[in-house]
Amino acid sequence: MTMLQTSLSALAAQLAAGQISSRELARQYLDRIAALNPAINAFITVDAEKTLAEAAAADALIAAGRGGPLTGVPVAHKDIFCTDGWLTTCGSKMLSNFVAPYDAHVIQRFKAAGMPSLGKTNMDEFAMGSSNETSHFGAVKNPWDTARVPGGSSGGAAACVAARMAPAATGTDTGGSIRQPAALCGITGLKPTYGLVSRYGMIAFASSLDQAGPMAPSAEDCALLLNVMTGFDPNDSTSLERDKEDYTRDLDRPLAGLRIGLPKEFFAEGLNSDVAAAVEAAVAELKKLGATTVEISLANSQLAIPVYYVLAPAEASSNLSRFDGVRYGYRAPEYADLNDMYSKTRAQGFGAEVKRRILIGAYVLSHGYYDAYYLQAQKIRRLIADDFAAAFKACDVILGPTAPGTAFTLGEKSDDPVEMYLNDLYTIPANLAGLPGMSLPCGFDSKGLPIGLQLVGDYFSEAKMLNVAHQYQRVTDWHARAPEGLR
């Protein structure tokens, strides 16, 4: 277990010093994946030959003295990122035969950094879900209790890191899909400010909300990964042209004088008492480090779920119209004419939750309903963003729970879409505003399941959020704990 419990910076140091090769490291993780994945189902595709070839190339870079900060450290990629020559399914039957002919920008960056891919991780179909149960490739099991869900949609990513099948993973977050599974699996995950990470080659769900980010045991790991992932990309029209930042620069700053905003709406009815207690204990810990707290209000945040379930399906209904059985992916075996081919292909290729969201989107955008639904949702989206802007006048970072509860059992909420949607109550507001958010472990409930703490920062304040998280992780060890019995 020792190597598998090592931080990214320590792994990189051992690689640079020649104490271990990237191939040996990749082999250790591949062995662990082979042993544990049948029970966890975190990976859709593993290709040891490709992984080891990439690791050999990383070893050559290191030997030539041309390695970067994380060269040779392997990562697992969510199956939403197009990866040249790898099956890229997005968790759907629709793309179950799709071998991507190019690399997503995020994949290009990891390749340029010399970081081998350990494989493609399982996810809710087209990233639509909060439990990973909508995947065409079967549910992922939570490594802390395999009768429970890992959260979603980046459930495979969170579970593989929690089970130490990978030292780190990529995820994407449209309404909480990095933060909620990170919370339910006891790891750290960060959704950056919208526009920091290129969406090129990341299969689109809701383009105005989708953002990729890192998932790993610690905040320090996430800071190093963010250095790899961020940067301007002309291939994404919403990619921001900004100077490159070093997200590790503020990790060691003391927290004296930090003003933490506690939104009263995030501690109201509906929050599990174990989660509330753990979050309050974390606040006390941060106060010991010199932080002060101030109560704030995000009054319109209670409208975030209704707004999200208009905007995200509207964008999805447009984005998913590209899956028509003509250019790639699944095509129905039998059909009468062109329209019948489209309709049967989409009826057979999409799962129930994806179809529901496409139908909602088609409806709210249809003639006569646009103003009442889509336009009204966009206006309330502004009100939600304005609440955050007002709050950041009084505080440096906002803190609350990531999810209202801990990991639920498989099947518990899969028959009730609304009950499932409520899981993202605290995470969706940051997506609507485009703000960075992160989840970090802050304790366990009475059943021994991990609890996540959420930080939401102002635009481009990732370094500050990582600073807060890192200082908290220096005095606590929740993030270092791994599930027992997975050896």
């Binding site: 919403t238 209704p306 790639y328 139908l359 949607y421």
Partner: protein, 95 residues
């Protein structure tokens, strides 16, 4: 507001998703619980609020009018369901 099974079939037609009567009935119930959730939006006064389409107030970039793509049609068509002579094949559209 409540959707009828006919509404569901109409939207499904717009979205090009074949839906049987039985599926429309089951979907209708689920969609209505979701629309009940969305209804909370309707009572909010948004007079004078500018709709927010994107998180960042940035304008679309312009690029030079130059060819930047290479010809990769062979790689892209290798993964298509049906191709002939560099063309995607679909059922006959024009009689």
């Amino acid at each position: 507001m409540s959707l009828t099974p006919d509404d569901v079939k109409r939207i499904a037609r717009l979205a090009r998703i074949e839906t049987s009567d039985a599926e429309a009935l089951a979907t209708q119930a689920r969609l209505n619980t979701i629309f009940d959730l969305i209804a909370a939006m309707q009572s909010v006064n948004t007079d004078g609020v500018a709709p927010m389409a994107h998180a960042q107030d940035v304008t679309q970039r312009l690029r030079d009018d130059a060819v930047t793509e290479t010809d990769r049609h062979a790689a892209f068509q290798a993964i298509a369901p049906a191709v002939e002579n560099g063309l995607y094949l679909v059922p006959k559209v024009i009689e």
